[in-house]
């Protein structure tokens, strides 16, 4: 009896998928866009019109996983309900209440022996060879327990999970997180979403160059039609910025201190707080051509910064309650922009000195764009989405876009940076081509009115292509429904996103099925090894008859699952 029920449950669940059939992938099914239709209500009735008993399974929670924070909330919300961090205070034993001790906030924490900068605040690091996965599991489990008990306060029904994680997350880490979600929180299924893709969704786009300035790395992902097509990463990100900020502040503290005092050694917490509160990023220096992003609007103030010749240099009083003795230091406002400058753009280093993993952000973006196919590049370069924790620094986005634009205008899209000894020849060829073109066009203009004479015909490559009215009509028809704004391409343009969490929330709200959906039973049986090797699994349900035969079909259309981009 129970097996029968289960079978019918899964069968109707599989049908439920076609009900929600909201994915763009369903589009190869027949449809008549012009015919009248009922809007797909959120409360669609279940199979045979009875109120569904499986509604509970449809409820999701949305999580976004980062190296230092986990965000969690419910679909349809614009902001997550909680943002949980993994600092040392969150890792204390139960019953250890020292963080409420009045003196605690004035004590500076020392970095643990053998720990890197800010390592105490990380949930995971991508290098799993030295990571203690058990500890990652402990941390994640505790954070999730807090999220469920304090912020979600849901009823007892198990919830499906939409989990946005970076692409290229190592399998052991994915497996650890899934263990927690399936084991401790009994989720019936976990859908993995790739965070650059959902960030694209949250920007309202289909294709984008997503620049995620995260903790350990900046990941640049080219997304085309909701798919990752190219990825490039660089270590110039939040961690380096806060380390630079600590250097700047240490220097400022040492300046203030009496001679002979021990050199200041700021903790990560202090440097990070200063960076997130008063850190900023200078606009691009005006030595090169002013581009749209700095010149655009209300740049009177921006000019003021750039001149930097104000008589008394503005300073910011930064308190250091954890320093001995506690002190307020006047830090020149311009130095607070230095960390972002040196960590992300490294203007003082020659390009040849960078290793492959430490390109400045704008160069890495340029290289990413360069390696894209031309039409994808056209789409991506005018849809640049800068997201991630580091991007909150005021002025940073405009600076990155500016730098990128000037790079493009300098170099064009020529992958060869230097022609070496052949550069003269290259120059010559290029100029010749240009001259030829100009000449021909001038000639052409001159010739057109009196083209009766038997002129030598233009070479085919220089002739104006014949315009086919039918082609034009077809392309016009296909674009009839698309407004011109979404056809833009070929210029550098930044688009704001609401962030990966909001994207995942949107996806869950529209009930879109992910490619990587992992069912609890199947995971518990085989673990992460149970995934099929194929990266793509069709989520389009096979056309089924609606007779009672379907009920007996059993296992549904997802006999196997895949890890998609993570495979």
């Amino acid at each position: 009896m129970s097996t029968e029920r289960k079978a019918s449950a899964s069968a109707s669940a599989s049908l439920g998928r076609s009900l929600r059939g909201a994915t763009p992938r369903l589009t190869d099914l027949a449809s008549t866009p012009e015919s009248p239709r009922t809007p797909l209500a959120r409360t669609a009735t279940s199979f045979y019109g009875s109120p569904g008993g499986y509604r509970s399974e449809e409820e999701y929670i949305v999580l976004e996983l980062g190296a230092r924070f986990v965000r969690g909330g419910l679909p349809g919300d614009s902001t997550p309900r909680c943002t949980l961090s993994f600092g040392p205070e969150e890792q204390r034993r139960a019953g250890d209440y020292r963080q409420w001790d009045p003196g605690h906030s004035s004590q500076r924490r020392k970095r643990r022996r053998g720990h890197g900068w800010g390592q105490d605040h990380e949930l995971y690091r991508l290098d799993v060879s030295q990571a203690d996965l058990g500890l990652v599991e402990d941390k994640f489990e505790r954070a999730m327990r807090e999220a469920f008990n304090k912020y979600f306060v849901l009823d007892t029904k198990p919830r499906r999970v939409m989990l946005a994680i970076p692409p290229k997350m190592p399998h052991p880490l994915i497996s650890t997180m899934l263990d927690v979600l399936f084991g401790s929180f009994q989720s019936p299924s976990v859908t993995l979403l790739s965070s650059p893709v959902v960030a694209t969704v949250a920007a309202g786009l289909r294709s984008a160059l997503v620049v995620d300035i995260g903790w350990a790395e900046t990941v640049i992902t080219a997304v085309c039609e909701y798919r990752e097509v190219h990825e490039r990463r660089t270590v110039r990100a939040g961690k380096l910025m806060s380390e630079e900020m600590a250097k700047v502040l240490n220097a400022a503290l040492d300046n203030e201190a009496d001679a002979g005092a021990p050199p200041a050694n700021l903790s990560f917490e202090e440097a990070d707080e200063v960076l997130t509160r008063v850190g900023w990023c200078k606009a691009k220096p005006r030595t090169t051509r002013r581009s749209t992003y700095s010149a655009a609007r209300s740049s009177l103030i921006a000019e003021e910064f750039e001149d930097a010749a104000e008589a008394p240099e503005p300073t910011i009083a930064v308190p250091f309650p954890r320093h001995t003795p506690p002190t307020d230091v006047e830090v020149p406002f311009s130095t607070l922009a230095q960390p972002a400058e040196s960590a992300l753009f490294a203007p003082d280093t020659a390009l040849c000195e960078f290793d492959d993993h430490e390109w400045p952000v704008h160069h890495a973006m340029y290289r990413a764009l360069l390696s894209l196919p031309m039409d994808v590049r056209r789409l991506c370069m005018s849809r640049i989405v800068i997201t991630g924790g580091g991007s909150a620094l005021p002025g940073l986005k405009a600076r990155i876009l500016d730098e990128l634009e000037s790079l493009v205008s300098q170099k064009g899209w020529d992958p060869v940076r230097s022609y070496g000894s052949a550069s003269a020849r290259h120059e010559r060829i290029m100029s010749q081509k240009r001259e030829n073109l100009q000449l021909r066009s001038e000639e052409g203009e001159d010739k057109v009115p009196d083209s009766l004479g038997p002129d030598p015909p233009l070479p085919a490559g220089l002739q104006k292509p014949e315009e086919d009215p039918i082609d034009a009509k077809l392309s016009h028809l296909s674009l009839k429904n698309t407004p011109s704004a979404s056809l833009i391409g070929g210029v550098i343009r930044g688009v704001d996103t609401l962030g990966a969490w909001a994207g995942a929330s949107l996806v869950a709200q529209q009930r879109i099925k992910g490619i990587v959906e992992i069912e609890r039973e199947k995971y518990l049986q085989h673990g992460i090894q149970g995934a099929t090797r194929e990266k793509e699994i069709s989520v389009v349900p096979q056309r089924q008859s609606m007779g009672p035969a379907v009920v007996g079909r059993g296992a549904g259309d997802r006999a196997s699952w895949t890890l998609g981009v993570w495979a």
Binding site: T79, E273, R297, S486
Partner: protein, 586 residues
């Protein structure tokens, strides 16, 4: 660790830590001593009061190895019970008048700004602790009640926020306007519309606006693209237009080809009304300017920001009062056998429990305290006012005695075996000896038994002659408790690993020299201690054996044999960590 010394932590070897392992791994696990310094230990050590006990599994249950079920929701501030449907629709915060200060998190009060003294409108929310109030963000209320409803309608600065419905309507209106404008401009492209400009000048859309725009955009897109899929469920409903069109199609064979048309894919958002927002550097420039002029105090600390419902803010004028988070009453079940371990009474104001199975009642309590010095040093007269051993300054290298006290909550006498590594793990190695690791503890009988039987008891206690520090002998014992001596030789903080007792004097001198040199050269010496590494914590493995009545359920099975007083042998074993004190720097 932050508990006052001395303290005891109990380790829970959690249910989900017992994953299937290879035999070798399991054996290695058995062999391994608990290391209280290991970062993972923080997640498995609990004070005894935090632990529950599953009588069926006969194991300790910590908060990780129970599953929780929410019984009811309530606001901790007004103690109002919130029904689950409201939690679902209105979220996890109190929807009445309870707010916390966004600056210091203390509960806020509603005050009247009226000076005439009759408490009339307007009202504000104010923090009685840090004096922050909604006046600072230009928000005033007209009524004393329903603050959260009023707050939802006012943005910072006093501007009205339209409701979701109004916003949706407004969006539709604008979209129509835009469409009409587009049509018109298609007819006469030279004409420029004033309507476009008027609403462009409007303030930038908030995050919420963008999100709802995006959400509405995707919804309409998906509806148009998936349209009347003839096999979709929603169309089972026969009164829907698409069902009509399908039926019509059945009789209209000419329309067949039309149905094969490929629908257009979901397109991109094209305007702000559809959720697209092109990056605009002017807000950033304004933010930079503001930081420059107003400085540190106007920005928010990370904790203040993360507590906000919209954490993407930067300045103190963007703060909103925080509606109090709801609390829940939860029952806890053992994860492996699903038995209920604790269940509170459902009444909000009651703090009592219907079911509560505590580890306190099933696990012997270990406690440690310093042995007063006059026991070890008989020449010194016992003065009641003598300062007891300062736990916060243990002396390196000097043997110190501690009294380990074990009390038994069970109604059966237990046999206890204690084990501890001879030196504590970690950088500072102290030597530990438990003088009497095997002993018995009496049953937790009626208190009066003790008093009545004391004259007949074979054990004489409280007479000082018997209390001798001697290996193999217990120190003292009572009705349901026994205490033994632990000898501790605290290690040196600047220790050479392995020697256990620290370097000799000469070596030490050399070490100091080396350290000085390294410091002068500005090297990062690895000699510095981490936080709490000077705390002396002793891991002790406790194993208890006792004979208990067979469980009621099992006994009913054995009833056929008619043996009612059957007793079974049981044993339990667990790790504990005893925090003795802090070693003083020499």
């Amino acid at each position: 660790m932050a508990q006052p010394f001395p303290y005891t932590y109990y380790a829970c070897d959690c249910y989900d830590n017992n994953k299937p392992q290879t035999v070798a791994e399991a054996a290695a696990e058995e062999e391994r001593d608990l290391d209280p310094r290991h970062p993972r230990s923080n997640y498995s050590l609990y004070p005894l009061e935090h632990l529950l006990y599953c009588e069926d599994c006969q194991q300790i249950r910590c908060s990780r190895c129970v599953t929780e079920e929410t019984l009811n929701w309530y606001c901790p501030s007004c103690l109002f019970e919130v029904p689950s449907s409201v939690v679902k629709s209105d979220g996890n915060r109190c929807t009445r008048n309870c707010f916390n200060c966004p600056v210091c998190t203390s509960p806020m009060t509603t005050n009247s700004l009226d000076t005439s003294g009759d408490n009339a409108a307007p009202y504000t929310l104010a923090c009685p602790y840090c004096k922050w109030s909604t006046v600072e963000i230009d928000i005033e209320f007209e009524k004393m009640n329903g603050i959260s409803g009023q707050l939802a309608k006012i943005a910072n600065g006093g501007r009205q926020i339209p409701t979701q419905k109004e916003r949706d309507k407004e969006r539709e209106r604008r979209k129509e306007l835009e469409a009409r404008f587009r049509d018109r401009s298609a007819l006469s492209p030279s004409e420029d519309s004033p309507t476009m400009d008027t609403w462009r000048e409007d303030h930038a859309p908030s995050r919420d606006d963008l999100f709802s725009n995006l959400s509405a955009f995707y919804k309409t897109q998906i509806e148009t693209t998936t349209a009347s899929n003839p096999f979709s469920h929603s169309d089972i409903n026969f009164s829907s237009p698409s069902a009509y069109s399908r039926i019509m199609n059945m009789y209209q064979s000419t329309n067949k080809r039309n149905k094969r048309d490929k629908p257009s894919p979901v397109r991109e958002a094209a305007s702000t009304l559809e959720g697209l927002s092109i990056h605009d550097p002017s807000t950033d420039v304004a933010a930079i300017e503001r930081i420059k002029t107003e400085g540190w105090a106007t920005t928010l600390s990370p904790s203040q920001r993360h507590a906000q419902t919209n954490p993407n803010i930067r300045f103190d004028t963007e703060l909103r009062p925080l509606a109090t988070l709801l609390c829940t009453k939860r029952s806890k079940r053992c994860r492996s056998c699903r038995h209920i371990l604790s269940k509170p009474e459902s009444k909000i104001t009651s703090t009592r429990y219907k079911i509560k199975v505590l580890a306190l009642e099933h696990i012997p309590r270990l406690s440690i305290r310093a042995l007063p010095s006059y026991f070890t040093n008989p020449t010194q007269p016992p003065t009641p006012a003598a300062p007891h051993t300062p736990y916060n300054a243990l002396k390196s290298g000097i043997p110190t005695h501690f009294l380990l006290h074990l009390s038994n909550p069970l109604f059966d006498p237990i046999r206890v075996t204690l084990a501890t590594p001879s030196t504590t793990p970690g950088k500072v190695q102290s030597r530990i000896t438990i003088l009497c690791p095997k002993f018995e503890v009496g049953a937790n009988t009626d208190v009066w038994d003790d008093a009545l039987a004391s004259s007949l008891s074979p054990i004489k206690h409280a007479s000082q002659d018997l209390n001798q520090i001697e290996a193999g002998k217990i120190w003292d014992r009572g009705r349901n408790w026994t205490s033994v001596i632990v000898e501790v030789i605290p290690g040196f903080l600047d220790n050479v690993p392995g020697s256990g007792l620290g370097p000799g004097l000469g070596e030490k001198f050399a070490l100091d020299e080396k350290k000085k040199k390294a410091k002068q050269e500005g090297e990062d010496t690895d000699d510095e201690l981490d936080e709490d590494e000077d705390v002396l914590e002793i891991p002790i493995f406790v194993r208890i054996e006792f004979e208990a009545d067979v469980n009621a359920e099992e006994r009913s099975l054995g009833d056929s044999r008619g043996n009612k007083n059957e007793r079974e042998k049981r044993e339990e074993a667990f790790w504990t960590v005893v925090g003795v004190g802090r070693i003083a720097a020499v």
